[in-house]
Amino acid sequence: MSGRVAIVGVGWTGFRPVSPEVSYKELMYEAAARAYADAGIDPRRDVDSFVTVSEDFHEGTSIFDEYVPDQLGAAQRPVHTITGDGLHALAAAVMQILTGRFRIVVVEGHSKASNVLTLPEITAYALDPVLNRPLGVHPVAVAGLEASRYLHESRTTREQCAAVVAKNRRHALCHPSAAYGADVSVDDVLAAEVVAAPLGRLEISDCADGAIVMVLADEPTARRLSAHPVWVRGVGWATDSPTLESRAWARAVYAARAAAMAYRMAGIADPREAIHFAEVDDTYAFKELQHLEALGLCAWGEAGRLTADGATAAAGRLPVNVSGGSLGGGHLLEANGLARALEVVLQLRGAAGARQLRGITTGLAQSWRGLPTATGAVAVMAS
């Protein structure tokens, strides 16, 4: 790695179950204006490139990149869209800065999920059109199958998955922007109706609206702009098999590969020692456990017990999803990974308010692309 890249500005709006009074453009504008103010930059003058992340079907608009430049101050500038998760866009921005030809790059992700009336039907359009779609399976069944296999092979229990929900929704009570903070018990989670066995209603994150913008800069620029830059020490992303028939159902291979890439870039040999806290994908409760294991932050089959024992709570040995994650904060579609990264930045800045962790210098953000994919991304950040 020829240089260093830092996050020097963050801005966000949301996260709320509905936002009928604003359009997606207004959400993006608000987040961008805050990020630019935070970084002390003028987008029309200072930004060399803009990277946005979106998926056409979630937006209800084809080639949605058309509609991003104006509200970001990016018209007639280099702008491109990455499909995938916000952490993919973050990685794209990091790569551009590392080329040495871009000093400041802005990343944007958003969710206007409340506009989407038929999300399961849209998700079903991501199933293979020849082999899977004709079966007419509701896509959440794919998550149910995966959860079954994971629980079986790792010997994780439903109670341990329920402990993830209780923890994250309680964490979210300390986050003013979280949409779904609640005092939910393990018994509440287990008593909820089953949606796709073994997944209960409360083990599935609900969507929220919001937008997140981040300003990234090369080292000299970062030192000039910010007294407390957060350094992106490693990024990684990987895609495991896109076909349901040929993937590893129990293990999150994509997360393991993405983490290996990020750890290599960051020079991390022992993640358990190097990573002080993590924000990982928990769009389904079992996913948090599966991901912690894939990331090498605990042994295979160990995450459930650690969670039930409180080791991954804010006061535990390895705080996980102190923000509340997606279960407590809301599922933000393409912006999920940026929400995870946002919390890592706020914690490393010491700006996390009531949920501030102590004695931390390195954190990890991880995302999963969601059903029915086997794609994920990782970013390792340090103060």
Binding site: S62, A75, P78, P129
Partner: protein, 392 residues
């Protein structure tokens, strides 16, 4: 910070056809395999994959990048899909460039795929969904209509005739006769044929427009060190540029593509090109419509505003002219599976600069070429400059 040099070392493509029997995954794989075989690499040597494809509506697949990942060689690898509308095909080459130039990757496979025939009966209806859902979609606009507006504005501003413009379609469809993957090569086509073809949306007639197509193209990018182990004739990425204008296209003067000029200036600056008309030896401007090639030659600063038709009339842009333009046959001749057509232009430069373009080879051993694409709401320009000389 000195920049890491990036080379193009291989390219491959499928035939462009109206209705492919292959699935999108299979098209992507045919192109990927051809590109890898062209430089003797196996998938194990590929560190990362960039996919260019847009929009999802053509294939009717949500998160199309995920769906295409295995066909594109991305299974188990860092795989990332980008899009900037019709500019995607050239942009994915810029994306592959920054993957390698960042130092994170040594060998990256860029794959662009589009299967427009899945949208039945005609892909044109998919374009309804690119318009603003509140202000424009209720009017049920058609993509041909808005380009007819732009063509009209271009003709009216500079006093250009339909006959001047038809020459571009004739040139490109004749050039495509020598392209083994082309769907619309026609050796005997004349200006009269173009002017007598069916009117679609005046002044656009059927032969002014590129066809709806299926196809895929793949290009292999490598770091300097990796390239030296793969080939002794690398072609270098000398410059990349891209630029997106406002979404409010109705506020734009459609006579001149300013965003293309800005993208070109970004690429020229990186490539150290000061006098593009002397330093660009072969050009593949985006030609989904015949007037667009002219429009883009002007935006690329390769012709004065309103004067590109004169270059065509004088034969300057013929394959054996002093500035060959679309020697591949372009979108008008080879076909237009949107993103694949853009990357086809980058592949064409690779073959031209290596002297491997067969019957399409431009004379005079060109040393530098430029590929450009355009898209969204007459809004985005993407530019890649390749050359045989290693960048400083």
């Amino acid at each position: 910070m000195s920049m890491r040099r990036v080379a193009v070392v291989g390219a491959g493509m499928t035939r462009f056809v109206r209705r492919a029997l292959e699935t999108p995954k299979e098209l992507a794989w045919q192109a990927a395999r051809a590109a890898l075989e062209s430089c003797g690499l196996g998938l194990d040597r590929v560190d990362g994959v960039c996919i260019g494809s847009a929009p999802d509506a053509f294939d009717g697949v949500h998160m199309k990048g995920e769906y295409l990942a295995d066909g594109s060689g991305g299974w188990g690898k860092p795989t990332m899909r980008s899009f900037v509308g019709g500019g995607t095909g050239v942009f994915v080459a810029a994306q592959a460039w920054y993957h390698v130039a960042s130092g994170l990757f040594d060998v990256v496979l860029a794959v662009a795929e589009e299967k427009m025939s899945s949208f039945y009966p005609h892909a044109q209806a998919a374009f309804l969904t690119i318009f603003d859902h509140t202000t424009e979609r209720p009017l049920q606009p058609n993509l041909l209509w808005i380009f007819a507006l732009e063509m009209n504005r271009y003709m009216q501003t500079y006093g250009i005739s339909k006959r001047d413009i038809a020459l571009v379609a004739v040139k490109n469809k004749r050039n495509a006769v020598h392209h083994p993957a082309a769907m619309l090569g026609e050796a005997d086509i004349t200006v009269e044929d173009v002017l007598n073809s069916e009117v679609l949306a005046w002044p656009v007639q059927r032969l002014d427009v590129s066809p709806v197509s299926d196809g895929a193209v793949a290009v292999v990018f490598a770091s300097e060190e990796a390239a030296s182990r793969i080939t002794d004739r690398p072609v270098w990425v000398q410059g990349v540029g891209w630029n997106l204008d406002t979404a409010y296209w109705t506020n734009r003067d459609l006579a001149y593509p300013e965003y293309v000029e800005r993208a070109a200036r970004m690429a020229y600056e990186m490539a150290g090109v000061r006098e593009p008309r002397k330093e660009i030896h072969v050009v593949e401007p985006y030609d989904p419509f015949d007037y667009k090639e002219l429009h883009h030659l002007e935006g690329l600063l390769l012709a004065d505003r309103g004067k590109a038709p004169e270059l065509v009339a004088q034969g300057v842009t013929l394959r054996d002219g002093t500035m060959p333009s679309c020697p591949s046959g372009g979108l008008l001749g080879v076909g237009n599976p949107i993103s694949a057509a853009g990357l086809m232009k980058v592949a064409e430069l690779f073959w031209q600069l290596r002297g491997e373009a067969g019957g399409r080879q431009v004379p005079g051993r060109p040393e530098r070429g430029l590929a450009q694409a355009w898209g969204d709401l007459m809004q985005v320009g993407t530019v890649v400059i390749l050359g045989t000389r290693r960048p400083e």
